[in-house]
Point group: C2
Chain length 174, copies 2
Amino acid sequence: MAFELFRREGFEKVTIDDLAKAAGVSRSTFLRYFGTKEDAVLSTFDAKGERVADALRARPGGEDDWTALRRALDTAIEPYHQDPDDSLAMTRLVRDTPALCARQLEKQHGWRPALARALAERGGSTERPALGDWVRAAAALDCLNAAVEHWTDSDGRLDLVTLLDDAFAALAPR
Amino acid sequence: MAFELFRREGFEKVTIDDLAKAAGVSRSTFLRYFGTKEDAVLSTFDAKGERVADALRARPGGEDDWTALRRALDTAIEPYHQDPDDSLAMTRLVRDTPALCARQLEKQHGWRPALARALAERGGSTERPALGDWVRAAAALDCLNAAVEHWTDSDGRLDLVTLLDDAFAALAPR
DNA sequence: TCCTATGTGAAACTGAGTGTCAAGATAGCC
DNA sequence: GGCTATCTTGACACTCAGTTTCACATAGGA
């Protein structure tokens, strides 16, 4: 798997040819599958945004936005509980590789429209999301990131659920 | 200037050779100056983060974090008032060019450490920033982005100060 | 059987970014 | 002035990512 190769050799040391050879396909085929080298690692990331948005839409209508967002993010942190070691290795690889860091940031940035739209729908309006929806969607993702970063820095020792709760709490006091 | 060329021809149509020729220097020199093609546009962006962090440190100690952050961001939106047309052209170019969008995101991501540290110092602790500092720093940047995006979408007609206030307000209600 | 759609590989091509090296310009010193 | 050290610039070669094109092979359907 690409992930293992990157972890052993470092992301930039491994060429697409290496990855293709390791996967037993041609360079062409590899690029047809993943599009870019980064996506060989981050393709798992793609569906995540839509899943969080779905979870958000599934929350009861009476719930306030912040609670709904916080609960929707339980979907996002599930994999970290399922396989902590693997997740830790992944977040470390991404954190320590500028190219992966940037690409992940970009992908996550792409989640915001779906989240903002889901928030807007919750608010009853079928129109496009308002400024506040965008801000809250983005802030919620920041909470997720801050929590995961701290969790990674603690080598997975801190409790991710608590960290995420704390992150949301840090948004509250005025 | 590189900016004009990109706006006329489109970012990907213009090669580094074109830029170098337009600037009257060699390709080598151009790359020595800017490092990447994206940075030919976004180099102005670099110092901005540090300036906002400085503004944050300059706020009175008694002020709460949110007010201090909001006021510090006045520094960041100043250029948009100084030269609205130019700013509008710039934000549009970035918005419509995936590569620039990604690179800008990455640069702004790099502002957070300085902002979080400034917040931590304000809190009196000389230690490294806590989870909450990171979250608040990131959320404030989201407010800036959301405000600027909306301002750009309105073709500069909406008032950026009001938009930024609204963005911060959207963070408040629980 | 023929035909078309789909998956794969080979190869050439463009362009970004890196590294090296050899001029020139420039500043400081004698 | 002349001389040396340092910094800047340009030329060139190189690696590698990503795109495009073409050819081939296989499978399913008429």
